[in-house]
Amino acid sequence: MTDTLTNPKSTARTADEEFTAFVEASATRLRRTAYLMCRDWHLAQDLTQQTFTKMYASWKRIRTSANLEGYSRRVLMNLVFDRSKRRSGSEIVLAELPDQPGRETAPELRLALVDALARMGVEDRAVLVLRHAEDHSVETVATILGVSVSVVKMRNARALARLREMLGDDF
């Protein structure tokens, strides 16, 4: 063993530096993903901070993991799911959409993408965000969310159809 490995002081410093570098590289994207999930920049900031805090707490265990990005998404999504379970969707107080908006929806009534996302189930929203905003493969999304590939495909198809319904045909 080298001196560096046996000196706990320098090991600790390196791990902290590594962690800081990871946060600096990934914070902006993770915050944006959090925002797409919750439609609120303050809350997004909060959720991202909590994600990094949890990751730091387990940093020694996860720092060598093959996919820290995937891990961070998993922690973030779990926080989002927990939150929506606790609040049981009460944060979304928008009026219900008509059942069959489709073609009749006037352009001025079209919702912004984030508003449309907010009206979906949190699981469907997560699939859309991870798959299309973050560009992860179906397999990676499945791993992040801890569900099977076919569940991801099914939710993705359902969520895209719903999105098209809300945002219009040319979407």
Partner: protein, 202 residues
């Protein structure tokens, strides 16, 4: 259509107000470090906290699926549980007891607790540690984590009365009585061998 969708997502985050990522990292180090320490204490406590880890290995993703459960016994930051003691979350019996004082406990409340313990026939031994002493111990313990030490002041650590009881079976009534006293924050009971530090904490 997917390309269009990606554009839309990019535009949707276009009003990002920005954030200080360096500050985020620093805050995570402080708060995450606190969680780590709490976990370490639990591990020492030998409480049956089994960490179930699943392994995701699809598409090169490889990470554990669950965060460890919350600790069964928590002691305030800056304290650790003595290694030889046996901690359970709901103790009926305890040889050793740690009574933590509230932040800003008054001199009168402190004296009342001290006098009560001094006159208590159930108490075999008693050791008192002030929050200043706790802080000095803490600084020595964490000298390798200066950012963490900076985040802590003597006021953020509690003072403690560490007690060894003559009879472990008296713990329940002992705790019930002292929990009612003014200035008491928390009481933790432990089953320790005579060789352990009084109170079962360090």
């Amino acid at each position: 259509m997917n390309a269009n969708l990606r554009d839309q997502f990019d535009r949707a985050v276009g009003d990002d107000p920005g954030a200080d990522v360096g500050a985020m990292a620093a805050a995570a180090v402080v708060a995450g470090g606190r969680i780590r320490r709490r976990r370490r204490l639990t591990a020492v406590a030998g409480a049956a906290t089994v960490v179930v880890m699943g392994l995701g290995v699809v598409a090169g993703v490889n990470f554990q699926t669950r965060e460890p459960a919350e600790p069964a016994v928590t002691v305030p930051m800056g304290f650790s549980l003595a290694q030889d003691c046996n901690y359970r979350s709901e103790e009926k019996r305890a040889t050793d007891v740690a009574i933590f004082g509230k932040t800003g406990i008054t001199g009168r409340d402190r004296a009342a607790i001290r006098d009560a313990l001094g006159a208590d026939g159930r108490v075999k031994e008693m050791v008192y540690e002030s929050n200043q002493e706790a802080y000095e111990r803490f600084v020595g313990l964490w000298k390798d984590s200066p950012e963490f030490v900076k985040s802590v002041t003597p006021e953020s650590l509690p003072e403690s009365f560490r007690v060894r009881l003559k009879d472990a079976r008296e713990f329940r009534s002992f705790r019930a009585e002292y929990a009612k006293m003014a200035g008491v924050q928390d009481i933790i009971g432990n089953v320790c061998p005579p060789s352990a530090p009084v109170g079962g904490i360090k």
